[in-house]
């Protein structure tokens, strides 16, 4: 049995949890989904749509705010009770924070940032990137089950997660968490900037690079984004120049994204940028230089001046 631990924050399900569910459904065995928090029945109901044998809720007041201690304590008990063969997580910031501690508490193997899973005669093989995505390594888990697996964001498609014919039953695991055992005291969530944006959650992204030439031309990009219902992002030079805030930066020193649609405007496609967006399902590139490396990974490419192409796109979208 595979247990997927879904992630919620303030009662809102993280979209990447569906990706972890899709990954866990792939082998075709029994699947359970767990969610932790306080007052998360809405999230549990949302998860019950998945093709799974049940949804388990770990509901405790001490889990209202995320803390590594709280989650490790609760999930260690849950895993002892359920005895899954594997536990899957989406490789989110939160998972990165507590999963190593959970693995250490259980004394079990943890394989992080997995992009593909193969079942071979010798056992399950997990593929994970090494050397900043340059190479893929085949990894097998040593030691007894359960093995803890985190799934890279964008490696599996959320909409590929199979939905059940009827809602899965929801059960409360009845796990108590002793608040005094939690050493961290969380403060109110810190907001970096007013319009802080989590691009990893965006379904459509319009990204802009040096080809935009000047800050005054950004309006054109904003218009296209609005017409497409997309978020705006940028390559490093744009954020470095302060034309867009740093949280809009895609690439090795910014965010990694995997939207359904990625439109790259005037981005040459330096490898530093590509590693941040190559997981996008459909990539559209517009660039003056036919030799630009972005065309090597684009599904659709337009060799042309973005100042001609983009207004035409906006006009067509607004029709």
């Amino acid at each position: 049995m595979i247990l997927v631990v879904a992630e919620q924050r303030e009662g809102k399900l993280n979209r990447a949890s569906w990706e972890a569910i899709a990954a866990a459904q792939q082998p075709g065995g029994e699947l359970k989904v767990a969610v932790t928090g306080s007052g998360v029945s809405d999230v549990a109901a949302e998860l019950a749509a998945a093709e799974a044998s049940e949804v388990i809720v770990v509901d405790a007041l001490a889990l209202a705010d995320y803390t590594a201690d709280g989650y490790v304590t609760a999930l260690a008990v849950l895993i002892e009770q359920e005895r899954p063969a594997q536990v899957f997580f989406a490789h989110t910031y939160q998972t990165r924070d507590f999963a190593p501690a959970l693995a250490a508490r259980l004394g079990r193997a943890l394989i992080t940032d997995v992009t593909a899973i193969r079942n071979e005669a010798s056992g399950t093989v997990y593929v994970r990137p090494v050397f900043q995505g340059k190479l893929n390594a085949d990894v097998t888990a040593a030691g007894p089950a359960p093995h803890l697996i985190t799934i890279q964001i964008g490696a599996y498609r959320a909409d590929a997660a199979r939905r059940g014919a009827s809602a899965a039953p929801i059960r409360n695991a009845g796990i108590a968490v002793d608040a005094s055992a939690i050493r961290q005291k969380p403060e109110a969530p810190f907001k970096e900037a007013k319009q802080a944006v989590d691009l990893s959650q965006a379904e459509r992204i319009v990204a802009v690079g040096r080809g935009i030439k000047g800050q005054e031309h950004l309006k054109l990009v904003e218009d296209l984004a609005r017409a497409m219902g997309a978020e705006i992002a940028a390559s490093r030079p744009i954020c470095d120049a302060g034309w867009l805030p740093m949280d809009r930066q895609i690439g090795s020193s910014g965010q990694t994204v995997a939207p359904k649609l990625y439109v790259a405007l005037g981005i040459s496609g330096a490898i530093q940028h590509l590693v941040g967006m190559k997981g996008a399902r459909t990539i559209v590139a517009i660039n003056k230089d036919p030799e630009a490396p972005i065309f090597e990974i684009a599904d659709f490419g337009i060799t042309g001046d973005l100042f001609e192409v983009v207004p035409a796109m906006i006009a067509e979208l607004n029709k």
């Binding site: 050397f131 900043q132 340059k134 810190f190 030439k213 000047g214 490093r236 030079p237 954020c239 470095d240 120049a241 740093m246 930066q249 090795s252 020193s253 910014g254 330096a270 490898i271 530093q272 590693v275 490396p293």
Partner: protein
Amino acid sequence: MARETLEVDALIVGGGPAGMSAALRLAQLQKAKGGEPLAIAVLEKAREAGAHMLSGAMLDPSALKELVPDFKERGAPLGSEVHHEHVYFLTRTGKIPFPITPPPLQNHGNYIISLSRFVKWMAGLVEAEGVDMFAGFPASEVLYDGDRVTGVRTRDQGIDKHGAKKSTFEPGVDIRAKVTILCDGVRGNLTKALVRRLALDAGRQPQLYAIGIKELWEVPKDRVKPGTVIHTLGYPLRMEEFGGAFLYAMADGLVSFGLVTGLDYRDPMFDPHQAFQHLKQHPAFSSILQGGQMVRYGAKALPEGGWHTIPRVYADGVLIAGDAGGFVNSMRLKGIHLAMRTGMLAADTAFEAIRAGDTSAARLRQYEERINASDVRRELYPVRNVHQSFSYGLLPGLMYSGLSLVTGGWWMKDPMPAHAGYERMAQLADYYGETRPDVDAPVRPAKIDRQLTFDKLTNVHYSGTRHPEDQPSHLIVHDTNICSTRCRAEYGNPCTRFCPANVYEMVDAGNGTKKLQINASNCVHCKTCDIMDPYQVIDWVPPEGGGGPQYEGM
């Protein structure tokens, strides 16, 4: 927020081969001599030991044999022993073998190593002796009491790119020591400041540097036998440029391959990274690399001036060892064993001085005496004018170098006169005359195919370098006006070419002029800009803790 202070007996700044050897030697002396245990600390700017280490690398194991006699049993990662050696002179498309391997390039008994792995292994030995290693803590300044060095201050953390304190701000820590051993490497930022303040280079010749650009390749296993060493002179460098290429073959088709170019070239349009691309297209090397894969990239300056350029390496409370002091044999292309040896001698001196309760310059002078009585001088003194002789061109350089093997380095004028490398760079008008080249385009472009040849930005990715973006630039250009006005006219912004990591770019300023853009997060910590900038307005300082390349396996 109050600044913390830490008191130790001996502080080693820089966890490279010199610093690790010094730390290990101090721990060994303490064990052997007993008595009140010394507090020893090592500061390293990289996030983990060895991550910023880059060299060819060929190890002469002489110092290692003395420092860790059972190095084999203790699992020293020594790679392949050298079996086959070739030296060639490259023409544009051909290669002419040297009739004999010149004695300084004979490497039998030496090992091809990854310096990064080697230093990581040494760090394990040092930590096992109970020495405190602080990785990810760059030292930003030397602390003084008058002219006496009392320790160093580590860099403040948590400053944003505009210089304001972030919520994560932490002031740097003052680490005070009875003796500080500076092992901050080639053009070390602390050694540079110390040498200037105390005029430790008075009466010495200016240091001469080179830049080494290196790639690690995986090639089909039958291409080249492990233990093969190839050195070349000539193409793509011209008679006026000092340098040469190296290829060291390790097990499993792993090949270490690079080009070393003197940072005393005249042509302001010269681009070492571009020359490296031309080199890879030469049949002598493309026949080995073609069909393989580049897996890592890096660049680092090296001090090649030799004996006459070594500053005074002691002062009140401080010693200088390794590349920071310029202990490299440019004729043998080796410095790791000299870094280790000087680190050990510095430790010997520091240990006795601390125990004697006298760490004044008069006492620490014993370090210089020890160096003079050691293999370090026996090796460096006879080749003291070698790099300098190449400033007269490749052929005079070779002739003098050959001669020096017989004469012990004698020359009519000793030291042979020399200028700092940046002073030798010619202005565009002097070098190109009437036909000024387009300074925004390469004079000798190399075709970039991203299989065999790469642009700088792609290469930077393979250096693994990372710096958080929201911090002040660690490359301080004291006058950026010069860039768009004088430098553009006189030299055509050579920083955009000599930097092997695309840190410096001249971008449109809007009104038809260009302005300097510093992509500090690309920096691979090679120090070339600090060395080669013709106006000497660039200061390299360490970035926030841990930033920099990841040279695993290099």
